[in-house]
């Protein structure tokens, strides 16, 4: 523990006492914030995991279905058939605020077009299935994206805030306390020194008078 390098004066003592008060208050607030973030994180991360597993399985299904479909077509045909989107998706992006952390909030606005973006003559029915399944998946994929980002940001923030709490608790506050102790000891010592000097002077004067 290191003492802060200040002059041992009453002025500094007063300043340090104010700083200690602020630090303690800040520590308490930050700690409360971290606790709440950890609690929320535990909830969110479980839900994200569940959604992640579900969506992952479905994405694999869609992709398998699609590769089945595309197996019977040439590369050029595929690119041609799927290059036009059937629906135009409008994504509304906003941010929500949890514990002063800006997390993304997505809202999907779907403007329905034709259901399948290609002519039926050229594409097999497996592709229809894949496209339909992918369409159903979009909103959940977005929900997953939103949740994963929130988890990541929250984890990051928790780490930072934990570090701050620890810095306050184990470095800043003990340092200030030690300095305060040092200054008040020094002041007391000065006082005692002054007192003894007075007593000494008095006894010397008495000796001379006698």
């Amino acid at each position: 523990m290191a003492r802060i390098n200040v002059n041992p004066t009453r002025m500094e003592l007063k300043k340090l006492k104010a700083r200690l008060k602020t630090a303690q208050r800040g520590h308490k607030l930050l700690k409360d914030k971290t606790d709440e973030m950890v609690r929320r994180f535990a909830v969110i991360v479980r839900e994200t995991k569940r959604l992640h597993d579900e969506v992952e399985a479905e994405v694999v299904d869609v992709l398998r279905q699609f590769s089945l479909a595309s197996g019977s077509m040439s590369k050029k045909e595929i690119a041609l058939a799927f290059s036009m989107p059937s629906v135009s998706l409008e994504l509304e992006c906003a941010t929500a605020n949890i514990l002063n952390l800006e997390i993304p909030k997505l809202h999907l606005k779907e403007t329905q077009g034709e259901e399948y973006p290609y002519s039926f003559a050229r594409v097999t029915s497996e592709a229809d299935l894949a496209v339909a399944a992918a369409g159903r998946l979009v909103s959940r994929l977005l929900r997953l994206a939103e949740m994963e980002k929130a988890t990541a940001m929250l984890a990051d923030e928790i780490e930072k805030s934990k570090r701050r709490v620890n810095a306050l608790e184990y470095i800043m506050i003990p340092d200030i306390e030690e300095t305060i102790r040092y200054i008040s000891q020094k002041l007391e010592e000065n006082e005692r020194a002054g007192l003894t000097r007075l007593m000494k002077v008095k006894s010397m004067l008495e000796e001379r008078g006698a």
Binding site: R64, L91, E148
Partner: protein, 120 residues
């Protein structure tokens, strides 16, 4: 504020997402994917990257971690996921809580003795 979605993947598989309104980009390897990602990060709000590529692009993706957008999410490819997405979640929970609350039950207790994760 409106935005668009994009998919980056290594095969033709990602084309299926094009038919539901996302923009698909194919990248054969990680450096190509990194280039695409850098190029489109400004224009798209949500970018899905197949997990094989995402695992190799950790640094590039990490650059967007601290801001709300763009959101970069790993998705599995045709051959099934390689567990990168789950690995990310596990790592985050370890960072935030000091331990892993998601997968402890699933893995054998042998290779993950209690307390080892908690040491910080």
């Amino acid at each position: 504020m409106n935005g668009k979605m994009a998919v980056i993947g290594e095969g033709d598989g990602v084309l299926v997402f094009q038919s539901v309104g996302m923009d698909a980009f194919t990248a054969e390897d990680a450096p190509a994917a990194a280039r695409i990602l850098k190029e489109i990060a400004e224009r798209y709000r949500v970018i899905f990257v197949t997990d094989v590529l995402a695992a190799q692009l950790e640094e590039e993706i990490g650059r967007y971690a601290s801001q709300a957008y763009p959101i970069v999410v790993p998705i599995p490819s045709v051959n099934g996921g390689n567990g990168y997405g789950a690995e990310l979640l596990r790592r985050q929970s370890e960072r935030a809580l000091g331990m892993d609350i998601l997968f402890r039950g699933e893995q054998g207790a042998g290779d993950r003795p209690d307390g080892e994760d908690n040491a910080r």
